[in-house]
């Protein structure tokens, strides 16, 4: 073996626990959840095992090697172009039968490979007994049992990876039935000499047959007219054999191989309906399920408010005292102003963000981990159709309540570009954890929980109205819903904590320093009267149109970095402490400002991800859309208050 770092890719069907396994091996790196399609771009890590370095790549889940969603194409690029040294095929053992179809397909590459039976605990609970030796023999591959959530089996896996690489073991593909195999062989022999071979000639021939009706097909054939005749003939022969399109014939061959292996290596004891399955029939019930969905979200926000509100009041006290103390001691000089800015920046993070942010992240992590998001998609599909989208967007919107950025990345699971664009344009209107924090900390804390709930409802109405408008502009029917509903599972505390930590780290590393620096900077600017200039420029808009104190103008600039900054910095801009806010702002003004800031522009990281995922044009459309909605809605809020 040479000194080059071997590249190992994790390939498996969505929701088979690749990312959890990857995390167990590589530390806190990738995001996981119980929702198919969480890993939308690949995570990568260098891992040291017994004096050797391995480069491990966690690829998005894919059901097959025929790509259909944009995220699945990432997998193919990795496997075909950047030929890996070894494939770790991660299988959800509780869904062994279907997962084996991909295994059979991967085997055809004849790359060094190790199969991981993950979620063994779940499989056993389901009454599945898998004979590993028999499975190894059938597949001609090493098979390792793991429970990634508990880190079980990871050492055995790495040992096996090392051994397979050292001995350069390459597997052999499994044989289809004779009549199909002979046609593939015929085509393999006719492959033109200059034909781009992927992995091996047989695999390439299979790919070519299956490319029927895909865009790549035309590309292959335009360059090879002679081959076209051979290919067409083979396709026709295959099609005639089973009275089905050629691609289905091959898929059915793999399906039957998988079924056969499953029957030979597995015993199924019919387990009693578990508590979870009973719970699931309740969650998925057409009426009770919807009721529960409503209850879950209302309960979630109520809980966060009940936890956050007293905690916030308690945490605010020392910072408020410190601020007053500084002002009393040093008066109105530069140093004092800067210190006050610092205290408000740090205190804002501790006292306002943490009491709400952490509970929200924990609860969102819990819902994701048990597999509730896909179920919400199922229940809401009918409503989403009325808004021109379908249920597959629902889990993305719910993810957006946590943070807009991963939600926009996850739009890759949508098949049509039209749905992707609309969903990605709508996500920035979903109040993310940071904005929810503000809504709870300001609106609920100062005006009462009903106002916060009302604001939330307004927010959702805005999303619904926009959705029906946008889907009317981008016409053509949305493809129907096809969404896998993963099994409900008990939450893993480790997974939830990891995810919360992951999101919190982002806040502590990125947002909080900006908040503190911004707060200090604002003190400095106001000391040299620069903020007055900005306020004067924005004044016609801020006080003219929205009827707010013109001092708030300067905070909007910070709002572009992160939306919660504008709201946190309003105290400093207005020169009051948290609890005295209502002495300088009226209820109407507070709500108008919160409305405007919530919508006015996607925050910097959301904008960056929009740009990267869907291009500059869509990112610009998003900015314009947000700005116009913010102006319109906050003006309406102002109007409503002046009328009633």
């Amino acid at each position: 073996m040479n000194d080059r770092v071997p590249v190992i890719v994790f390939v498996g069907q969505p929701n088979s626990g690749k990312s959890t396994l990857f995390n167990a091996i590589a530390g806190f790196k990738a995001q996981t959840s119980n929702f198919p399609g969480t890993t939308v771009c690949h995570a990568h890590s260098e891992v040291a095992w017994k004096d050797r370095i391995y480069s491990i790549v966690d690829l998005p889940g894919t059901y097959s090697l025929t790509p259909q969603e944009p995220q699945e194409k990432v997998v193919l690029t990795h496997i075909f172009k950047e030929r890996p040294d070894l494939i770790v095929n991660v299988i959800d053992a509780s869904l062994l039968c279907r997962n084996l179809e991909l295994t059979v397909e991967l085997l055809e590459l004849e790359y060094p490979m190790v199969v991981v039976l993950n979620m063994m605990d779940l499989a056993e609970k389901k009454g599945l007994t898998i004979e590993v030796e028999a499975l190894e023999k059938k597949l001609g591959l090493p098979v390792i049992k793991t429970v990634a959530t508990r880190g079980q089996g990871t050492r055995e896996l790495m040992d096996r990876v090392e051994k397979v690489l050292a001995e350069r073991q390459t597997p052999r593909h499994l044989k289809y039935s004779g009549e199909v195999e002979s046609r593939i062989k015929k085509l393999t022999e006719r492959l033109p000499a200059d034909f781009p071979v992927i992995a091996n000639p047989r695999f390439t021939a299979i790919r070519a047959i299956e490319a029927e009706t895909l865009a790549v097909d035309k590309f292959i054939l335009d360059n090879n007219p002679d081959f076209k005749n051979d290919l067409d003939q083979v396709r026709q022969e295959l099609s005639a054999l089973r009275e089905a399109p050629a691609y289905e014939v091959l898929a059915a061959e793999r399906h039957h191989l998988a079924l056969k292996i499953f029957e030979d290596c597995c015993r199924v004891r019919h387990a009693r309906l578990s508590g979870l399955e009973k719970l699931d029939s309740f969650i998925m019930h057409p009426v009770l399920g919807l009721f529960l969905l409503l209850l879950v979200f209302a309960g979630m926000f109520y809980l966060i408010f009940r936890v956050g509100s007293p905690l916030e009041a308690w945490l605010l006290k020392p910072w408020e005292a410190l601020r007053l103390g500084i002002q009393e001691k040093y008066g109105q000089n530069l140093l004092a102003e800067l210190l006050v800015g610092l205290v408000q920046g740090i205190g804002g993070g501790v006292a306002i963000v943490f009491p709400y942010f952490i509970p929200l992240l924990l609860l969102m992590g819990f819902l994701e981990d048990i597999g509730y998001l896909a179920r919400a998609g199922f229940l809401m599909d009918a409503f989403m159709h009325r808004l021109g989208l379908h249920g597959k967007s629902v889990p993305l919107f719910i993810l957006g309540f946590g943070c807009n950025v991963p939600a926009i990345m996850a739009t890759r699971i949508l098949e049509s570009r039209r749905d992707r664009i609309i969903t990605a344009l709508l996500i920035p209107f979903i109040p993310c954890a940071a904005r929810t924090t503000i809504i709870l900390a300001l609106v609920a804390f100062l005006l009462g929980p009903w106002w916060a709930l009302g604001f939330y409802a307004l927010n959702l109405v805005v999303v619904a109205v926009l959705s029906s408008l946008l889907t009317r502009i981008f016409k053509y029917s949305s493809p129907g819903l096809i969404l896998e509903i993963p099994g409900l599972k008990w939450p893993s505390l480790k997974n939830i904590l990891q995810k919360t930590y992951f999101n919190l780290k982002e806040f502590i590393r990125f947002a909080w320093p900006i908040l503190i620096a911004g707060s200090v900077l604002l003190s400095l600017l106001s000391f040299v009267n620069f903020d007055r200039l900005v306020n004067a420029i924005l004044s016609p808009f801020v006080s003219g149109l929205l009827g707010l104190p013109s001092e708030l103008g300067v905070t909007l600039i910070f709002g572009f970095l992160r939306k919660e900054l504008s709201l946190l910095m309003m105290f400093q801009a207005l020169g009051v402490g948290y609890e005295q806010l209502l002495s300088v702002l009226s209820r109407a003004q507070l709500l108008t400002f919160v409305t405007f800031v919530s919508f006015f522009i996607p925050c910097l990281s959301t904008l960056a991800i929009l740009w990267k995922e869907l291009g500059r044009k869509i990112a610009m459309v998003s900015v314009l859309l947000n700005l116009s909605v913010a102006v319109l809605v906050s003006w309406l809020v102002r109007l409503a208050f002046s009328l009633f």
Partner: protein, 99 residues
């Protein structure tokens, strides 16, 4: 346990009768006879492990023309399908003891 559709005991099973996935009662075994519709839909269902000849059962449905929940009894997986798609899947009743 919470299935809201009533068991239609009289009419089923009528072996050999082909109908769409939308017309079948919940909980009974059916066999996929044909998947109509374009190659895109067809491939998608194939890759999710729904093939011709597989045993399936309707496991639930959402309100107001929402999707139906289909369970593949061969591979023990569940998918939600919009009604437009469910209409394109033709099934025939299967013997309750078949596997």
């Amino acid at each position: 346990m919470f299935g809201h559709r009533k068991e239609q005991t009289e009419a089923w099973p009528l072996t050999g009768r082909v109908c769409t996935l939308l017309d079948v009662p919940q909980g009974r075994k059916f066999r996929i006879v044909e998947i109509k519709g374009g190659p895109g839909l067809h491939r998608r269902l194939l890759s999710l492990g729904f093939h011709r000849g597989d045993l399936i059962a309707l496991d639930g449905e959402a309100l107001l023309g929402g999707p139906v929940l289909v369970k593949n009894l061969n591979s023990d997986t569940r998918i939600a399908l919009g009604r437009g798609i469910a209409r394109k899947i033709l099934v025939e009743p299967a013997d309750e003891n078949e596997r």
